[in-house]
């Protein structure tokens, strides 16, 4: 479980099946913005497990941490990501 303000990094993963972790956010560092609670877990549901649920978070990423130094220094991107996509980061 993560809390609001925690630093997290998205795991490096490229599953063959359905995922809601966009490729442009793979391996990026951000901060927990909101704890969304338990939501239907799309990755497992797409694989036929209709009841699959997982805790999800809104994670805020600085645009520079996603797109590099030529990104807007004041920009950020928020995405809704499942717990298993994330690992703690300092």
């Amino acid at each position: 479980m993560f809390s609001v303000g925690d630093r997290v990094r998205t795991r490096l993963r490229n599953p063959a099946g359905h995922t809601r972790l966009p490729r442009y956010l793979v391996g990026r560092s951000g901060r927990i913005d909101t704890v969304l609670g338990t939501l239907p877990f799309s990755d497992r549901r797409a694989a036929g497990v209709r009841s699959a649920k997982e805790t999800a978070y809104t994670v805020r990423f600085a645009a520079e941490d996603v797109f590099g130094g030529d990104a807007d220094p004041r920009g950020s991107i928020c995405a809704d990501l499942f717990e298993s996509y994330l690992e703690a980061s300092e």
């Binding site: 969304l36 807007d72 004041r74 809704d80």
Partner: protein, 196 residues
């Protein structure tokens, strides 16, 4: 996979086959499906979003409730967001120096119940890829030029949350009625590609 748009004839044949399969399995009939789509389109309108925005502009307590729990605040005004799909509404407020933009990079998630069917550009590969990478240029192409020191947050709707932007109340509308304010609210203002 990225969206490769097949021909409309191909898509139409697949829909027909799918509907036939549902009919054969006694899940629903084509007539019931048509009625459901009609009811959905009749109730899913940008006027719903405008109702929430104008109320938030005139009622600070409602604004706070809308930002804290979108579903509950919408229900206060008779809008049932979970009627069609179990989605959570999060309303994000534009403020002086802070702008918000909505996108779905994975597909085309959109607050249908509040804004009606999405515009075709919202579903385009160009908007979906560029909105996250270079929102300032995308906004400029919509005619929305923000000062360089404006902080832009792009909300990528990757799970069950649907986002709507609460635009800033336009200057000079201090004496406008709530009904007049509703008429000022635009669909693009609630996506974040325009100011109101």
């Amino acid at each position: 996979m990225s969206h490769v748009h097949e021909s409309s004839a191909g898509a139409s044949n697949r829909v027909k086959a799918l509907v036939a399969a549902f009919e054969a399995a006694n899940v629903f009939t084509e007539r019931e499906l048509d009625a459901a789509v009609e009811a959905f389109l009749a109730s899913a309108q940008p006027a719903n979003g405008a109702l929430l925005v104008a109320r938030a502009w005139v009622d600070g307590a409602f604004r706070a409730r809308l930002l804290a729990d979108g579903n509950a605040a919408a229900a206060e005004l008779g809008i049932d967001l979970a009627r069609w799909a179990p989605v959570k509404l999060r309303v994000v407020a534009n403020e002086p120096g802070r702008h918000n933009l909505i996108v779905c990079t994975l597909c085309s998630c959109y607050p249908l119940a509040l804004l009606g069917p999405s515009p075709s550009w919202y579903k385009s590969n160009a908007y979906r890829s560029r909105a996250v990478r270079d929102p300032r240029s995308v906004l400029a192409e919509f005619g929305t030029t923000l000062s360089d020191d404006t902080e832009i947050t792009v909300w990528d709707s990757t799970a069950e949350v649907r986002y709507m932007v609460l635009p800033q109340r336009p200057a000079g509308t201090e004496n406008a009625s709530e009904e007049e304010l509703r008429a000022l609210v635009t669909r693009n203002g609630m996506i974040g590609t325009a100011l109101v």
